[in-house]
């Protein structure tokens, strides 16, 4: 037993309560709920009523042994977390393969007579195995997407700037717009492919010999409105994912009509990887009690050669 008086113990508890709004877990550990509360307090964005940023698995009152941030909590990423001794996973994208993000598959819509509710889906081996893995290792999964995206400056764009080695080109303002050393589109594509460790997910619209200098970053998934707003002031957009009938055709037409423009698609998850590295760095500053580590997700795509 630690030689500590009851009076001192009460004082310690009181000081920690004063420092943080919620009581700490046993032994001064921080709970998953407390981590989330500190994120909400510090992220600098009003918390939305309707949001995907909620716990997806595990007990929020669990003491956190370490935090892993990732763009996608794949089984491989969860395995890395367990090996590293971390039990709280902060993921940008869903864990259970759908916006619904539940440990059983979503109920298929539009089948059967409308007055009879659809029967529950049969067990799915991938959903079940992931759920079992999370339970076996007492992991807690919390999604952080809606609000992290709204933080200023945009951490996803900042992450891309960091990994592309463009910090020296970024001003104090929006990291999503920068002027790099002029180069050709195909040279830029090679640089992006290498920097983001892309395997087969990259797709490009535009002349490979086009000279490019003004770069705009659109990480994640973006609608046509974002491209319409961004393209006029850029030579090249580097985006995660767009709708092909929208931004891809828009850039194709702009190029065909003589516009010196281009579009590099890297994939949604690949585009979000570096932003979750920024997240781990930020979490270190507000959660000093435990280690926060980024675990990258490899490019899901390959293509035959």
């Amino acid at each position: 037993m630690h030689p500590i008086s009851r009076r001192k113990f009460v004082a310690l508890i009181a000081s920690s309560v004063a420092a943080t709004p919620l009581a700490r877990g046993i032994g001064g550990a921080v709970t998953a709920q407390e981590v989330v509360d500190r994120i909400k307090k510090n992220v600098g964005v009003d918390w939305k009523q309707e949001t995907v940023d909620t716990f997806k698995a595990g007990d929020p009152s669990t003491a956190v042994t370490g935090i892993v941030t990732t763009a996608l909590a794949s089984l491989e990423v969860l395995g890395s977390a367990v090996k590293a001794g971390a039990n709280l996973i902060v993921t940008c994208e869903p864990t259970f393969y759908a916006k619904a993000d539940t440990p059983t598959p979503p109920v298929r819509r539009g089948f059967g007579p409308p007055d009879i509710p659809p029967s529950p889906p049969s067990p799915d081996p991938v959903f079940s195995a992931k759920d079992a893995f999370i339970k076996k290792h007492n992991l807690i999964v919390w999604r952080f997407s809606d609000h992290w995206r709204l933080r200023k400056p945009d951490p996803f764009a900042q992450g891309l700037v960091n990994v592309l080695g463009w910090s020296k080109f970024a001003g104090a303002g929006d990291p999503g717009h920068l002027s790099i050393t002029e180069t050709s589109l195909d040279t830029l594509v090679s640089h992006v492919k290498k920097s983001l460790k892309s395997r087969g997910g990259m797709r490009i619209v535009g002349d490979p010999k086009l000279r490019v200098q003004k770069v705009a970053l659109l990480p994640g998934s973006t609608p046509i409105q974002s491209s319409l707003k961004t393209l006029p002031d850029a030579d090249v957009i580097i985006a995660g994912e767009v709708r092909e009938w929208e931004s891809v055709e828009y850039v194709r037409d702009t190029v065909a009509l003589g516009g010196k423009k281009s579009l590099i698609l890297v994939g949604r998850i690949v585009s979000e990887n570096p932003g979750m590295q920024v997240c781990a760095q930020w979490l270190k500053t507000i959660i000093p009690e435990v280690a926060s580590t980024w675990v990258p997700v490899g490019d899901p795509y390959w293509r035959p050669m």
Binding site: V126, D186, R243, E244
Partner: protein, 264 residues
Amino acid sequence: MISAGEVVARIKTNLGFLWRQTTYRDTFKFGGPDTVVKGIATTMFCSYDVIRRAAEAGCNMIIPHEDTYWNDRDDVTIVSGDPAYKRKVDFMREHDIVIFRMHDHMHAQKPDFIWVGLARALGLESKYETAPQSHHFTLPETTLGELAAMCQKRLGDQALRVVGDPKAKVSRLQLGVGYATPSINNPDVDVVVSGEQQESDGFLDSPAYVLDAMTLGIPKGWIMLGHSVSEEQGMLEMAQWIKSFTPEVPVQLIRTGEPFWAPK
């Protein structure tokens, strides 16, 4: 002499089912029913390049499957401030172009030419289809790597993307087209071949699912051909069908082609 309105009237008559008046997709996008038609081109996307090539080929009526103004509703208020929109519209005006989209009614046709065209282009013979128009095929067992290479070779698309273990043994293929991409978690399906799907946050995020299936050693594969490549094949069938009831003018497919290139 035939007007665009008459061509559309014949399309409606030959469909074999009632026109859905509520469609916002299958309408005139440029020009109108009174335009005199010199020739008809079917295509996937009404891109500027397609319009230019159609005009060169003497086709002033274009029947695309997809949108003209870079959004599904072809809402011009979204795009009208953009220089590319103005130049595209100017070109169409100068060349007396008329555009009528065929999307919803094409997918409602039996059979749907879009699926027919893609199955033809991929060499998916009907003897392999589990049930007529199920788009579910049981093929002689192959690997995901071999199947993907076959798709790329047959369609010639550079930027095809695949998720899954190239060595995974696959046989049961669910075909999709465009954005109508089936979910990979169906127990009767080893591999989905389709056009486009959002990577995550949808009804079922197949890329993430296949990644985990791969970790678990469950053979699953996901092959994305690209939206344009997957659906433009069936515009050949559409051209042939329109030709059968518009003998007055030439009808041809003008390929939109793949918009992308891929790095080495």
